[in-house]
């Protein structure tokens, strides 16, 4: 009986691998759909009360409903911010605290600019990365010290299975390759072949 135990163990692990894949696919993934590629390393944009910081951006992912950014309000309990896609000025006003803040954003997928308005009564800092003035965000027509970093988020977190096409396509996009999810599909094939190959070889090697 124990002669067959190694193969029973391998079969059990093959089932476990399958279960792990299924459990991962039905898990809710992140709400994050992308970023503007700017790390919120330091406060580089100061927005005085009543003013608006704007910067250029590539169109955000289609599902974007809000942005998350790191802000500094110096403990001001009445700090308020609003985000818009550079055209409207009627975004929802959100109470701001020091740290990460989510701001609703409409029409982001068509936007070429992103603006954050300080609706409070004291200055607010936006975190990002320092850049030369010609690439920096603009506050009241003056260049700031850099551009602010934003993370684009969707309304709710879908499961990984629901996002599979999008995630696979991103494997190609990350390398500056368009053309759909072929790269990601190839990745899945390699993963399947690796695991199946290893388990099959072990099955044949650890024979009774």
């Amino acid at each position: 009986m124990t002669r067959y135990l190694p193969r029973a163990v391998l079969a059990a692990f093959a089932v476990l691998v399958a279960i792990a894949i299924v459990l991962t696919l039905v898990r809710h993934s992140t709400r994050v759909v992308g970023t503007n590629g700017v790390s919120p390393a330091e406060f580089v944009v100061t927005v005085p009360a009543g003013e608006r910081a704007c910067q250029a951006m590539a169109p955000a992912p289609r599902a974007t409903r809000a942005i998350v950014m790191t802000v500094g309000v110096y403990g001001d309990q009445r700090a308020r911010l609003r985000a818009d896609a550079g055209t409207a000025t009627n975004g929802r006003v959100v109470a701001a605290r020091d740290g990460q803040l989510e701001l609703p954003l409409a029409g982001a997928e068509r936007a070429k600019r992103l603006c954050v308005t300080n609706v409070g009564s004291r200055r607010v800092e936006l975190a990002g990365t320092a850049t030369p003035p010609e690439h920096a965000a603009v506050v009241d027509e003056r260049p700031a010290q850099g551009v602010f970093g934003v993370t684009f988020v969707r309304a709710s977190a879908p499961t990984w299975a629901e996002r599979l096409d999008e995630v696979l396509a991103r494997v190609g996009y990350a390398k500056g390759m368009t053309g759909g999810s072929a790269t990601g599909g190839f990745l899945i094939a390699l993963l399947a072949l690796t695991l199946a190959g290893a388990l099959t070889i072990a099955w044949r090697t650890l024979r009774p």
Binding site: R7, V9, L16, T35, G37, S39, V171, G176, G197, T205
Partner: protein, 510 residues
């Protein structure tokens, strides 16, 4: 005219011919088994490594930016960096960083590579523009520029092959060469495990698969990093060393050991840690040699000297030192740097690998054997900016500790210890040399920068010993239990791979 064959017992019996035939058949069986072993392990390593070459976004492995810059400068100018006065990176590489958002992604989990078709189009266009920029104006001092050039010289080949393509095409072609090193490492580990446990039919296959499936090794080994060649060269050097110790030095083994040691010396300075152990293996091998020992010793030493001498000549002709000044690491002002001492170094080295003793100054504030070594072995990926779920590290620590106990049990059998003491001495000296060298560099780095230097990959030159150790742990359970544990190890390795791939997908594409 032919009749029926005579009865067998009437045929004159040639015992020598029978023995020869049996011996020929046995060696053909061995060769065939070796072919199967190499093919199987290489296939899994190839598939797994290829996966990681695609999964990791460009420049998102530790120091890949600097190592690419070194290789690019060498490929473009046939000169060794550093070129003082030049920046680290070429104009083309900097433009590629900007196109892909490389600097912003590094170290910031929430920042992702281009994630939409529009941003991918923009990145592609920017990379195309970058192709027109100078490629040979980098090569300034960096964290990589002090390293010897063998790996970079090899990467220059795929770089030149892809010279007409974009920088991303060249990077991927270079990663394919790294992939070949990863495959060689896994195969070397398989052969080492089989060499040391010949009576266990599955030893080589299980040892090889455990390396081929190790995601933290695969991740770093397929990136542009001289570590990958170091892993391959070290694993094969250990294999030849073990064969020399067990069967005696032959001309081929002396040549192979020498060439591998020489290649290691001009691949990465870390290899120096293995040299005392390899020298001990040479001495043991010479003692068991049947032919001219002086000539064999001279062959090994001479072969080991060839590549370092070529490097020396190249560096001297260029007016570059063998250990040029590195840069790129933020060093504290001199008055803030800690002063080193021998007792400090000993205490640091102790705490790096063992529990801190009560009277020792706490250098780390955490437990390096778990956080640094086990944590890194399980997976600290990207620019060390993401990993796996917390419980996986704890589970891995339990499994590795259990395996270590089983190895000790296996070795505690006096007969086994007596039979293998030379090999164990070589392994121990290699491990000690490597550990001491890592501690030496880490102590100096910490004093000058205030940061912790050590990463698990610095121990991967001994990955073949890990494979052998895991198989030895299985063997400790005997003929019935051993294969069961081996199957469990392979199963866990598959789950480990899956977890690392999912974590990477979530990090960069989620």
């Amino acid at each position: 005219m032919s009749g029926p064959p005579p009865p067998a017992d009437l045929v004159p019996h040639d015992a020598g011919a029978d023995r020869d035939q049996a011996s020929d058949a046995a060696s053909e069986d061995r060769r065939s088994a070796t072919r199967r072993l190499v093919l199987a392990v290489a296939t899994v390593a190839l598939l797994h490594g290829l996966l990681w070459t695609i999964l990791i976004p460009p420049f998102q492995a530790p120091d890949e930016t600097e190592h690419f810059a070194y290789a690019q400068y060498l490929a473009e100018t046939a000169r060794l960096p550093p070129k003082v006065g030049n920046p680290q990176y070429s104009s083309e590489e900097i433009a590629a960083f900007n196109a892909l958002g490389t600097v912003g992604i590094t170290g910031a989990y929430g920042v992702k590579p281009p994630a939409t078709e529009a941003s991918a189009d923009a990145a592609e266009a920017a990379v195309e523009v970058a192709e027109e920029l100078p490629r040979d104006d980098g090569g300034g001092p960096s964290t990589a520029s002090a390293q010897p050039p063998l790996a970079y010289a090899l990467w220059a080949i795929p770089y030149r092959v892809g010279a007409d393509g974009s920088i991303l095409t060249r990077l991927w072609l270079m990663r394919l060469l790294s992939l070949a090193c990863f495959v060689a490492t896994a195969v070397g580990a398989a052969l080492l495990a089989r060499e040391l446990l010949p009576s266990w039919r599955w030893a080589g296959m299980v040892g090889g698969l455990l390396v081929a499936l190790q995601p933290a090794v695969a991740f770093i080994a397929v990136s542009i990093n001289p570590d990958t060649l170091l892993f391959a060269v070290s694993t094969w050097a250990l294999l030849v060393a073990v064969r020399s110790v067990r069967h005696g030095l032959t001309r081929r083994r002396a040549l192979a050991l020498g060439v591998l040691a020489g290649a290691g010396m001009v691949t990465k300075l870390t290899f120096a840690g293995l040299v005392p152990g390899l020298l001990l293996a040479l001495v043991f091998g010479l003692r068991r040699a049947r032919t001219d020992r002086v000539r064999l010793g001279a062959t090994a030493i001479g072969a080991a000297a060839v590549l370092p001498v070529v490097y020396l000549a190249w560096a001297l002709l260029q007016g570059r030192g063998l250990l040029p000044v590195a840069a790129g690491t933020p060093v504290l002002p001199v008055e803030q740097q800690a002063t080193g001492s021998l007792t400090g170094l000993i205490s640091y080295a102790w705490q790096l690998y063992l529990p801190r003793l009560p009277f020792m100054h706490d250098f780390f504030g955490f437990f390096p054997p778990y956080t640094t070594w086990i944590g890194g072995f399980v997976g600290r990926l990207g620019w060390l900016d993401y990993g796996l779920r917390g419980w996986i590290y704890d589970a891995a620590a339990v499994i590795l500790a259990g395996a270590l106990v089983l190895v000790l049990v296996a070795l505690s059998r006096a007969q086994r210890l007596r039979r293998n003491w030379r090999v164990l001495a070589v392994f121990a000296l290699c491990a000690l040399g490597l550990a001491a060298q890592i501690a030496w560099v880490g102590y100096d780095y910490r004093n000058k920068t205030g940061f912790v230097f050590e990463q698990t990959r610095y121990l991967y030159p001994m990955i073949g010993v890990y494979a052998t150790g895991m198989v030895t742990a299985c063997a400790a359970l005997g003929r019935r239990g051993g294969p069961v544990l081996a199957a469990a190890f392979i199963g866990v390795a598959c789950l480990h791979t899956l977890a690392a791939v999912f974590a990477t997908v979530a990090r960069y594409y989620g």
